[in-house]
């Protein structure tokens, strides 16, 4: 492996990479070695057009662009010399010649690389008197993206993204020189399942998502690391939160899972968190047959009653559960313990499905399908069959995954149970079959782990508090167990302890608890995937 020296420090770098790539591979780029860059992106082809990444290399008379200069053994690189600083200053001045003074009304302000580097390397005064290039300020490129042509610095990241990642290639650079503009082919639009990533990679405020545009100043946002719940890929994200609300999901880099991308559907799924149809309190079916608001203790009391009575009359086998792949490993583990304490083995898991693709999106549209399977939850059908056969009196249901068209007729089947206890985040049709409804927390509101399709255990943490009383599925089930007086359910719920306990019963999870997996997750032990 070639050895190079950057600013006096030695690095052993992979062969056949360019300087920026090699430093990025080592994880030191912009994290110890600061080489500003606009056009280069770790997951896109090299463009070499912005010239900001110039560095000095010993033995080379001219500065070289770090993004496109292959590493060589013995290479000695300087990134902080006066020559380099002057080059960056020159590049910044040229980029700013035509840039509008939009920061006060620009969404990117606060997370804008042009702002950052103008501050660091920019000349405070403009040496040009010519008017700046006047272009279109609001181009609707498609259903998701709004484009400000004046702000574009022509780095071509968006163009390359569309060609290289979704492969749809809607964008191009038209014209030449100082008249170049990014646009779509006449009469077409930017429309693909990953379109909104262009707003993330645009280093300036030229591309904005229609969804987030003008919603909030980014410096008010706290970015909490989390995992998308849209499918079993479990893309790593940041939840941008303020005032106890989630304003956006943006991709968080994890080369093992989602590189630096997320799909549009997953990105917009944050809307479910603050949705008006959240279940905000427990509900109980009254003597008149309608659901009425109730207290938590009444709801848990009634649920415990139903379970006890049924088990005493017909044995524990008439108590069954349908788990949700939207619940965390911890939630599902508590469910397993509860079922074991009750002495029943009738359980399954309903998995909603959708269209998958070759990029990120998986057919299984929930974040913890693999976790549920690893914890022993099989298919939902056998449980449904048993219900249809009249073998289930009390059914615990987590989530509304059963409403997937795949489980057609499930609602009718559920009506055959004497009592359905539903733990859910959102109101749904399923309530029609429920006797007891308990509100639970969304993934954005709790601590826990999900296991993605490849067996990677990834952590989520509370980004917001629900504005009503709701616990996680695990804690709700814990309280149900306590109400039932089951062994092992006394005391206060401790999700961290639960998370650790999973590993002692399921060895694959050993050392994969919330505190151990770290920000990028860990594969299940002994799992080659």
């Amino acid at each position: 492996m070639p050895r190079i020296t950057v600013d006096g420090r030695d690095y052993e770098v992979p062969e056949g990479r360019t300087l920026l790539q090699a430093l990025d591979d080592l994880g030191v780029l912009m994290n110890g070695v600061e080489i500003p860059h606009y056009c280069w992106h770790p997951k896109l082809s090299i463009d070499g057009s912005c010239r900001l990444c110039q560095v000095e290399i010993e033995g080379q008379p001219k500065l070289q662009i770090a993004c496109n200069t292959p590493v060589q053994d013995g290479m000695v690189v300087y990134t902080r010399t006066e020559r380099v600083r002057r080059a960056r200053e020159g590049v910044m001045e040229l980029l700013l010649v035509n840039h509008p003074l939009d920061c006060p009304i620009c969404d990117q302000a606060g997370e804008c690389k042009l702002q950052d580097y103008a501050f660091e390397y920019g000349v405070p005064r403009s040496r040009t008197r010519e008017p700046r290039r006047a272009l279109k300020k609001r181009v609707d490129l498609g259903p998701t993206i709004v484009f400000d042509q004046e702000r574009c610095i022509l780095c071509r990241r968006c163009v390359r993204f569309c060609r290289e990642v979704p492969g749809t290639g809607e964008l191009g650079v038209f014209g030449r020189g100082d008249r170049s503009v990014v646009d779509v082919f006449p009469g077409e639009e930017l429309r693909n399942d990953y379109s909104m990533n262009v707003a993330d990679i645009c280093p300036v405020g030229a591309l904005t998502t229609r969804d987030f545009r003008f919603r909030i100043r980014v410096w008010f946002l706290k970015e909490i690391p989390g995992v998308c719940t849209g499918c079993s890929r479990g893309c790593n994200i940041h939840l941008g939160t303020a005032y106890n609300r989630v304003y956006r999901y943006t991709p968080r880099r994890n080369d093992e899972v989602n590189e630096t991308w997320i799909c549009d559907e997953g990105r917009l799924s944050y809307k479910a968190i603050g949705a008006p149809d959240r279940i905000r309190e427990p509900w109980l079916r009254s003597a008149r047959g309608v659901l009425e608001p109730a207290t938590e203790s009444d709801a848990l009391g009634r649920a415990a009653d139903r379970i006890r009575t049924a088990a005493e009359a017909h044995g524990p086998g008439v108590v069954a559960a349908l788990a949700s792949p939207h619940a965390t490993n911890e939630d599902l583990f508590v469910l397993r313990r509860l079922l074991a304490a009750l002495g029943t083995e009738v359980h399954g898991m309903a998995v909603p499905r959708g269209r998958g693709d070759e990029i990120l999106l998986r057919e299984e549209r929930a974040p913890n399908v693999a976790g549920g399977r690893a914890l022993g939850f099989g298919e939902a059908e056998p449980v449904l069959d048993r219900i249809r056969g009249g073998g289930v009196s009390v059914l615990l249901v987590l989530g509304h995954d059963l409403l997937d068209p795949r489980y057609e007729g499930a609602l009718d089947a559920l009506r055959r149970c004497e009592s359905v206890i539903l733990l859910d985040t959102h109101h749904s049709e399923l309530e029609r079959a429920a006797e007891i409804v308990l509100p639970v927390r969304h993934a954005a509101e709790k601590l826990g782990t999900f296991t993605n399709f490849a067996g990677r255990v990834q952590r989520i943490e509370p980004a917001v508090e629900p504005p009503f009383l709701a616990l996680s599925d695990g804690e709700t089930l814990h309280r149900l167990g306590r109400t039932l007086g089951l062994a092992g359910f006394a005391g206060v719920y401790d999700v961290r302890a639960i998370s650790r306990a999973i590993g002692s019963e399921f060895p694959a999870f050993a050392g994969r608890d919330v505190d151990a997996v770290g920000p990028l997750g860990l594969p299940l032990a002994g799992d080659p995937a």
Binding site: R163, G169, E170, L171, G172, V173, F174, G175, R176, V184, F185, P186, G187, E188
Partner: protein
């Protein structure tokens, strides 16, 4: 289809002359423009098909070069060079003179559809500045009167 079978054949022949068929893209675009007078989006799509490119890539090329036109124009295209040497030799006055003679602004087409007037960057004839290009012919060492006469003779 807006590109005729005959032109398609010539494009295929051009492709065969390049080690990478894509090298014939400019030649193809010239052929198309010769036939249609300009290169509309439908033609770009068809060219893209012939070359296995995306229409957007063909449009990048068409919009890059001044000599390709996306919009239809007059029967004749007249371009006055306004780059530095020509400007020093009076190109701007020449252009203004032609504008007022034709009654249109640079970039417009006369109402009778006879002439589209434009300006160009250096056409490589600086030694004979100022100059203008009328379709495929260069007219050099111009003065306003001679330029007007040349235009008046156009059909």
């Amino acid at each position: 289809m807006v590109i005729s079978e005959a032109v398609r054949e010539r494009i295929e022949a051009a492709k065969a002359r390049f080690p990478q068929p894509r090298g014939a893209l400019l030649a193809a675009l010239h052929l198309v423009q010769e036939e249609l007078g300009h290169i509309p989006p439908e033609a770009e799509r068809e060219v893209a098909d012939l070359f296995g490119l995306r229409p957007v890539e063909v449009h990048e090329v068409v919009s890059f070069y001044n000599m390709f036109h996306s919009e239809s124009g007059g029967r004749h295209r007249v371009y006055v060079c306004t780059n530095l040497p020509c400007s020093l030799r009076g190109a701007r006055t020449l252009l203004r003179h032609l504008e007022s003679h034709l009654g249109i602004r640079c970039g417009q087409t006369t109402p009778d559809g006879r002439i589209t007037l434009g300006h160009e960057e250096c056409l490589g004839a600086c030694a004979y500045a100022p100059m203008m290009r009328v379709d495929r012919t260069y007219h050099e060492d111009l003065d306003p009167e001679r330029a007007v006469r040349i235009l008046d003779e156009l059909e």
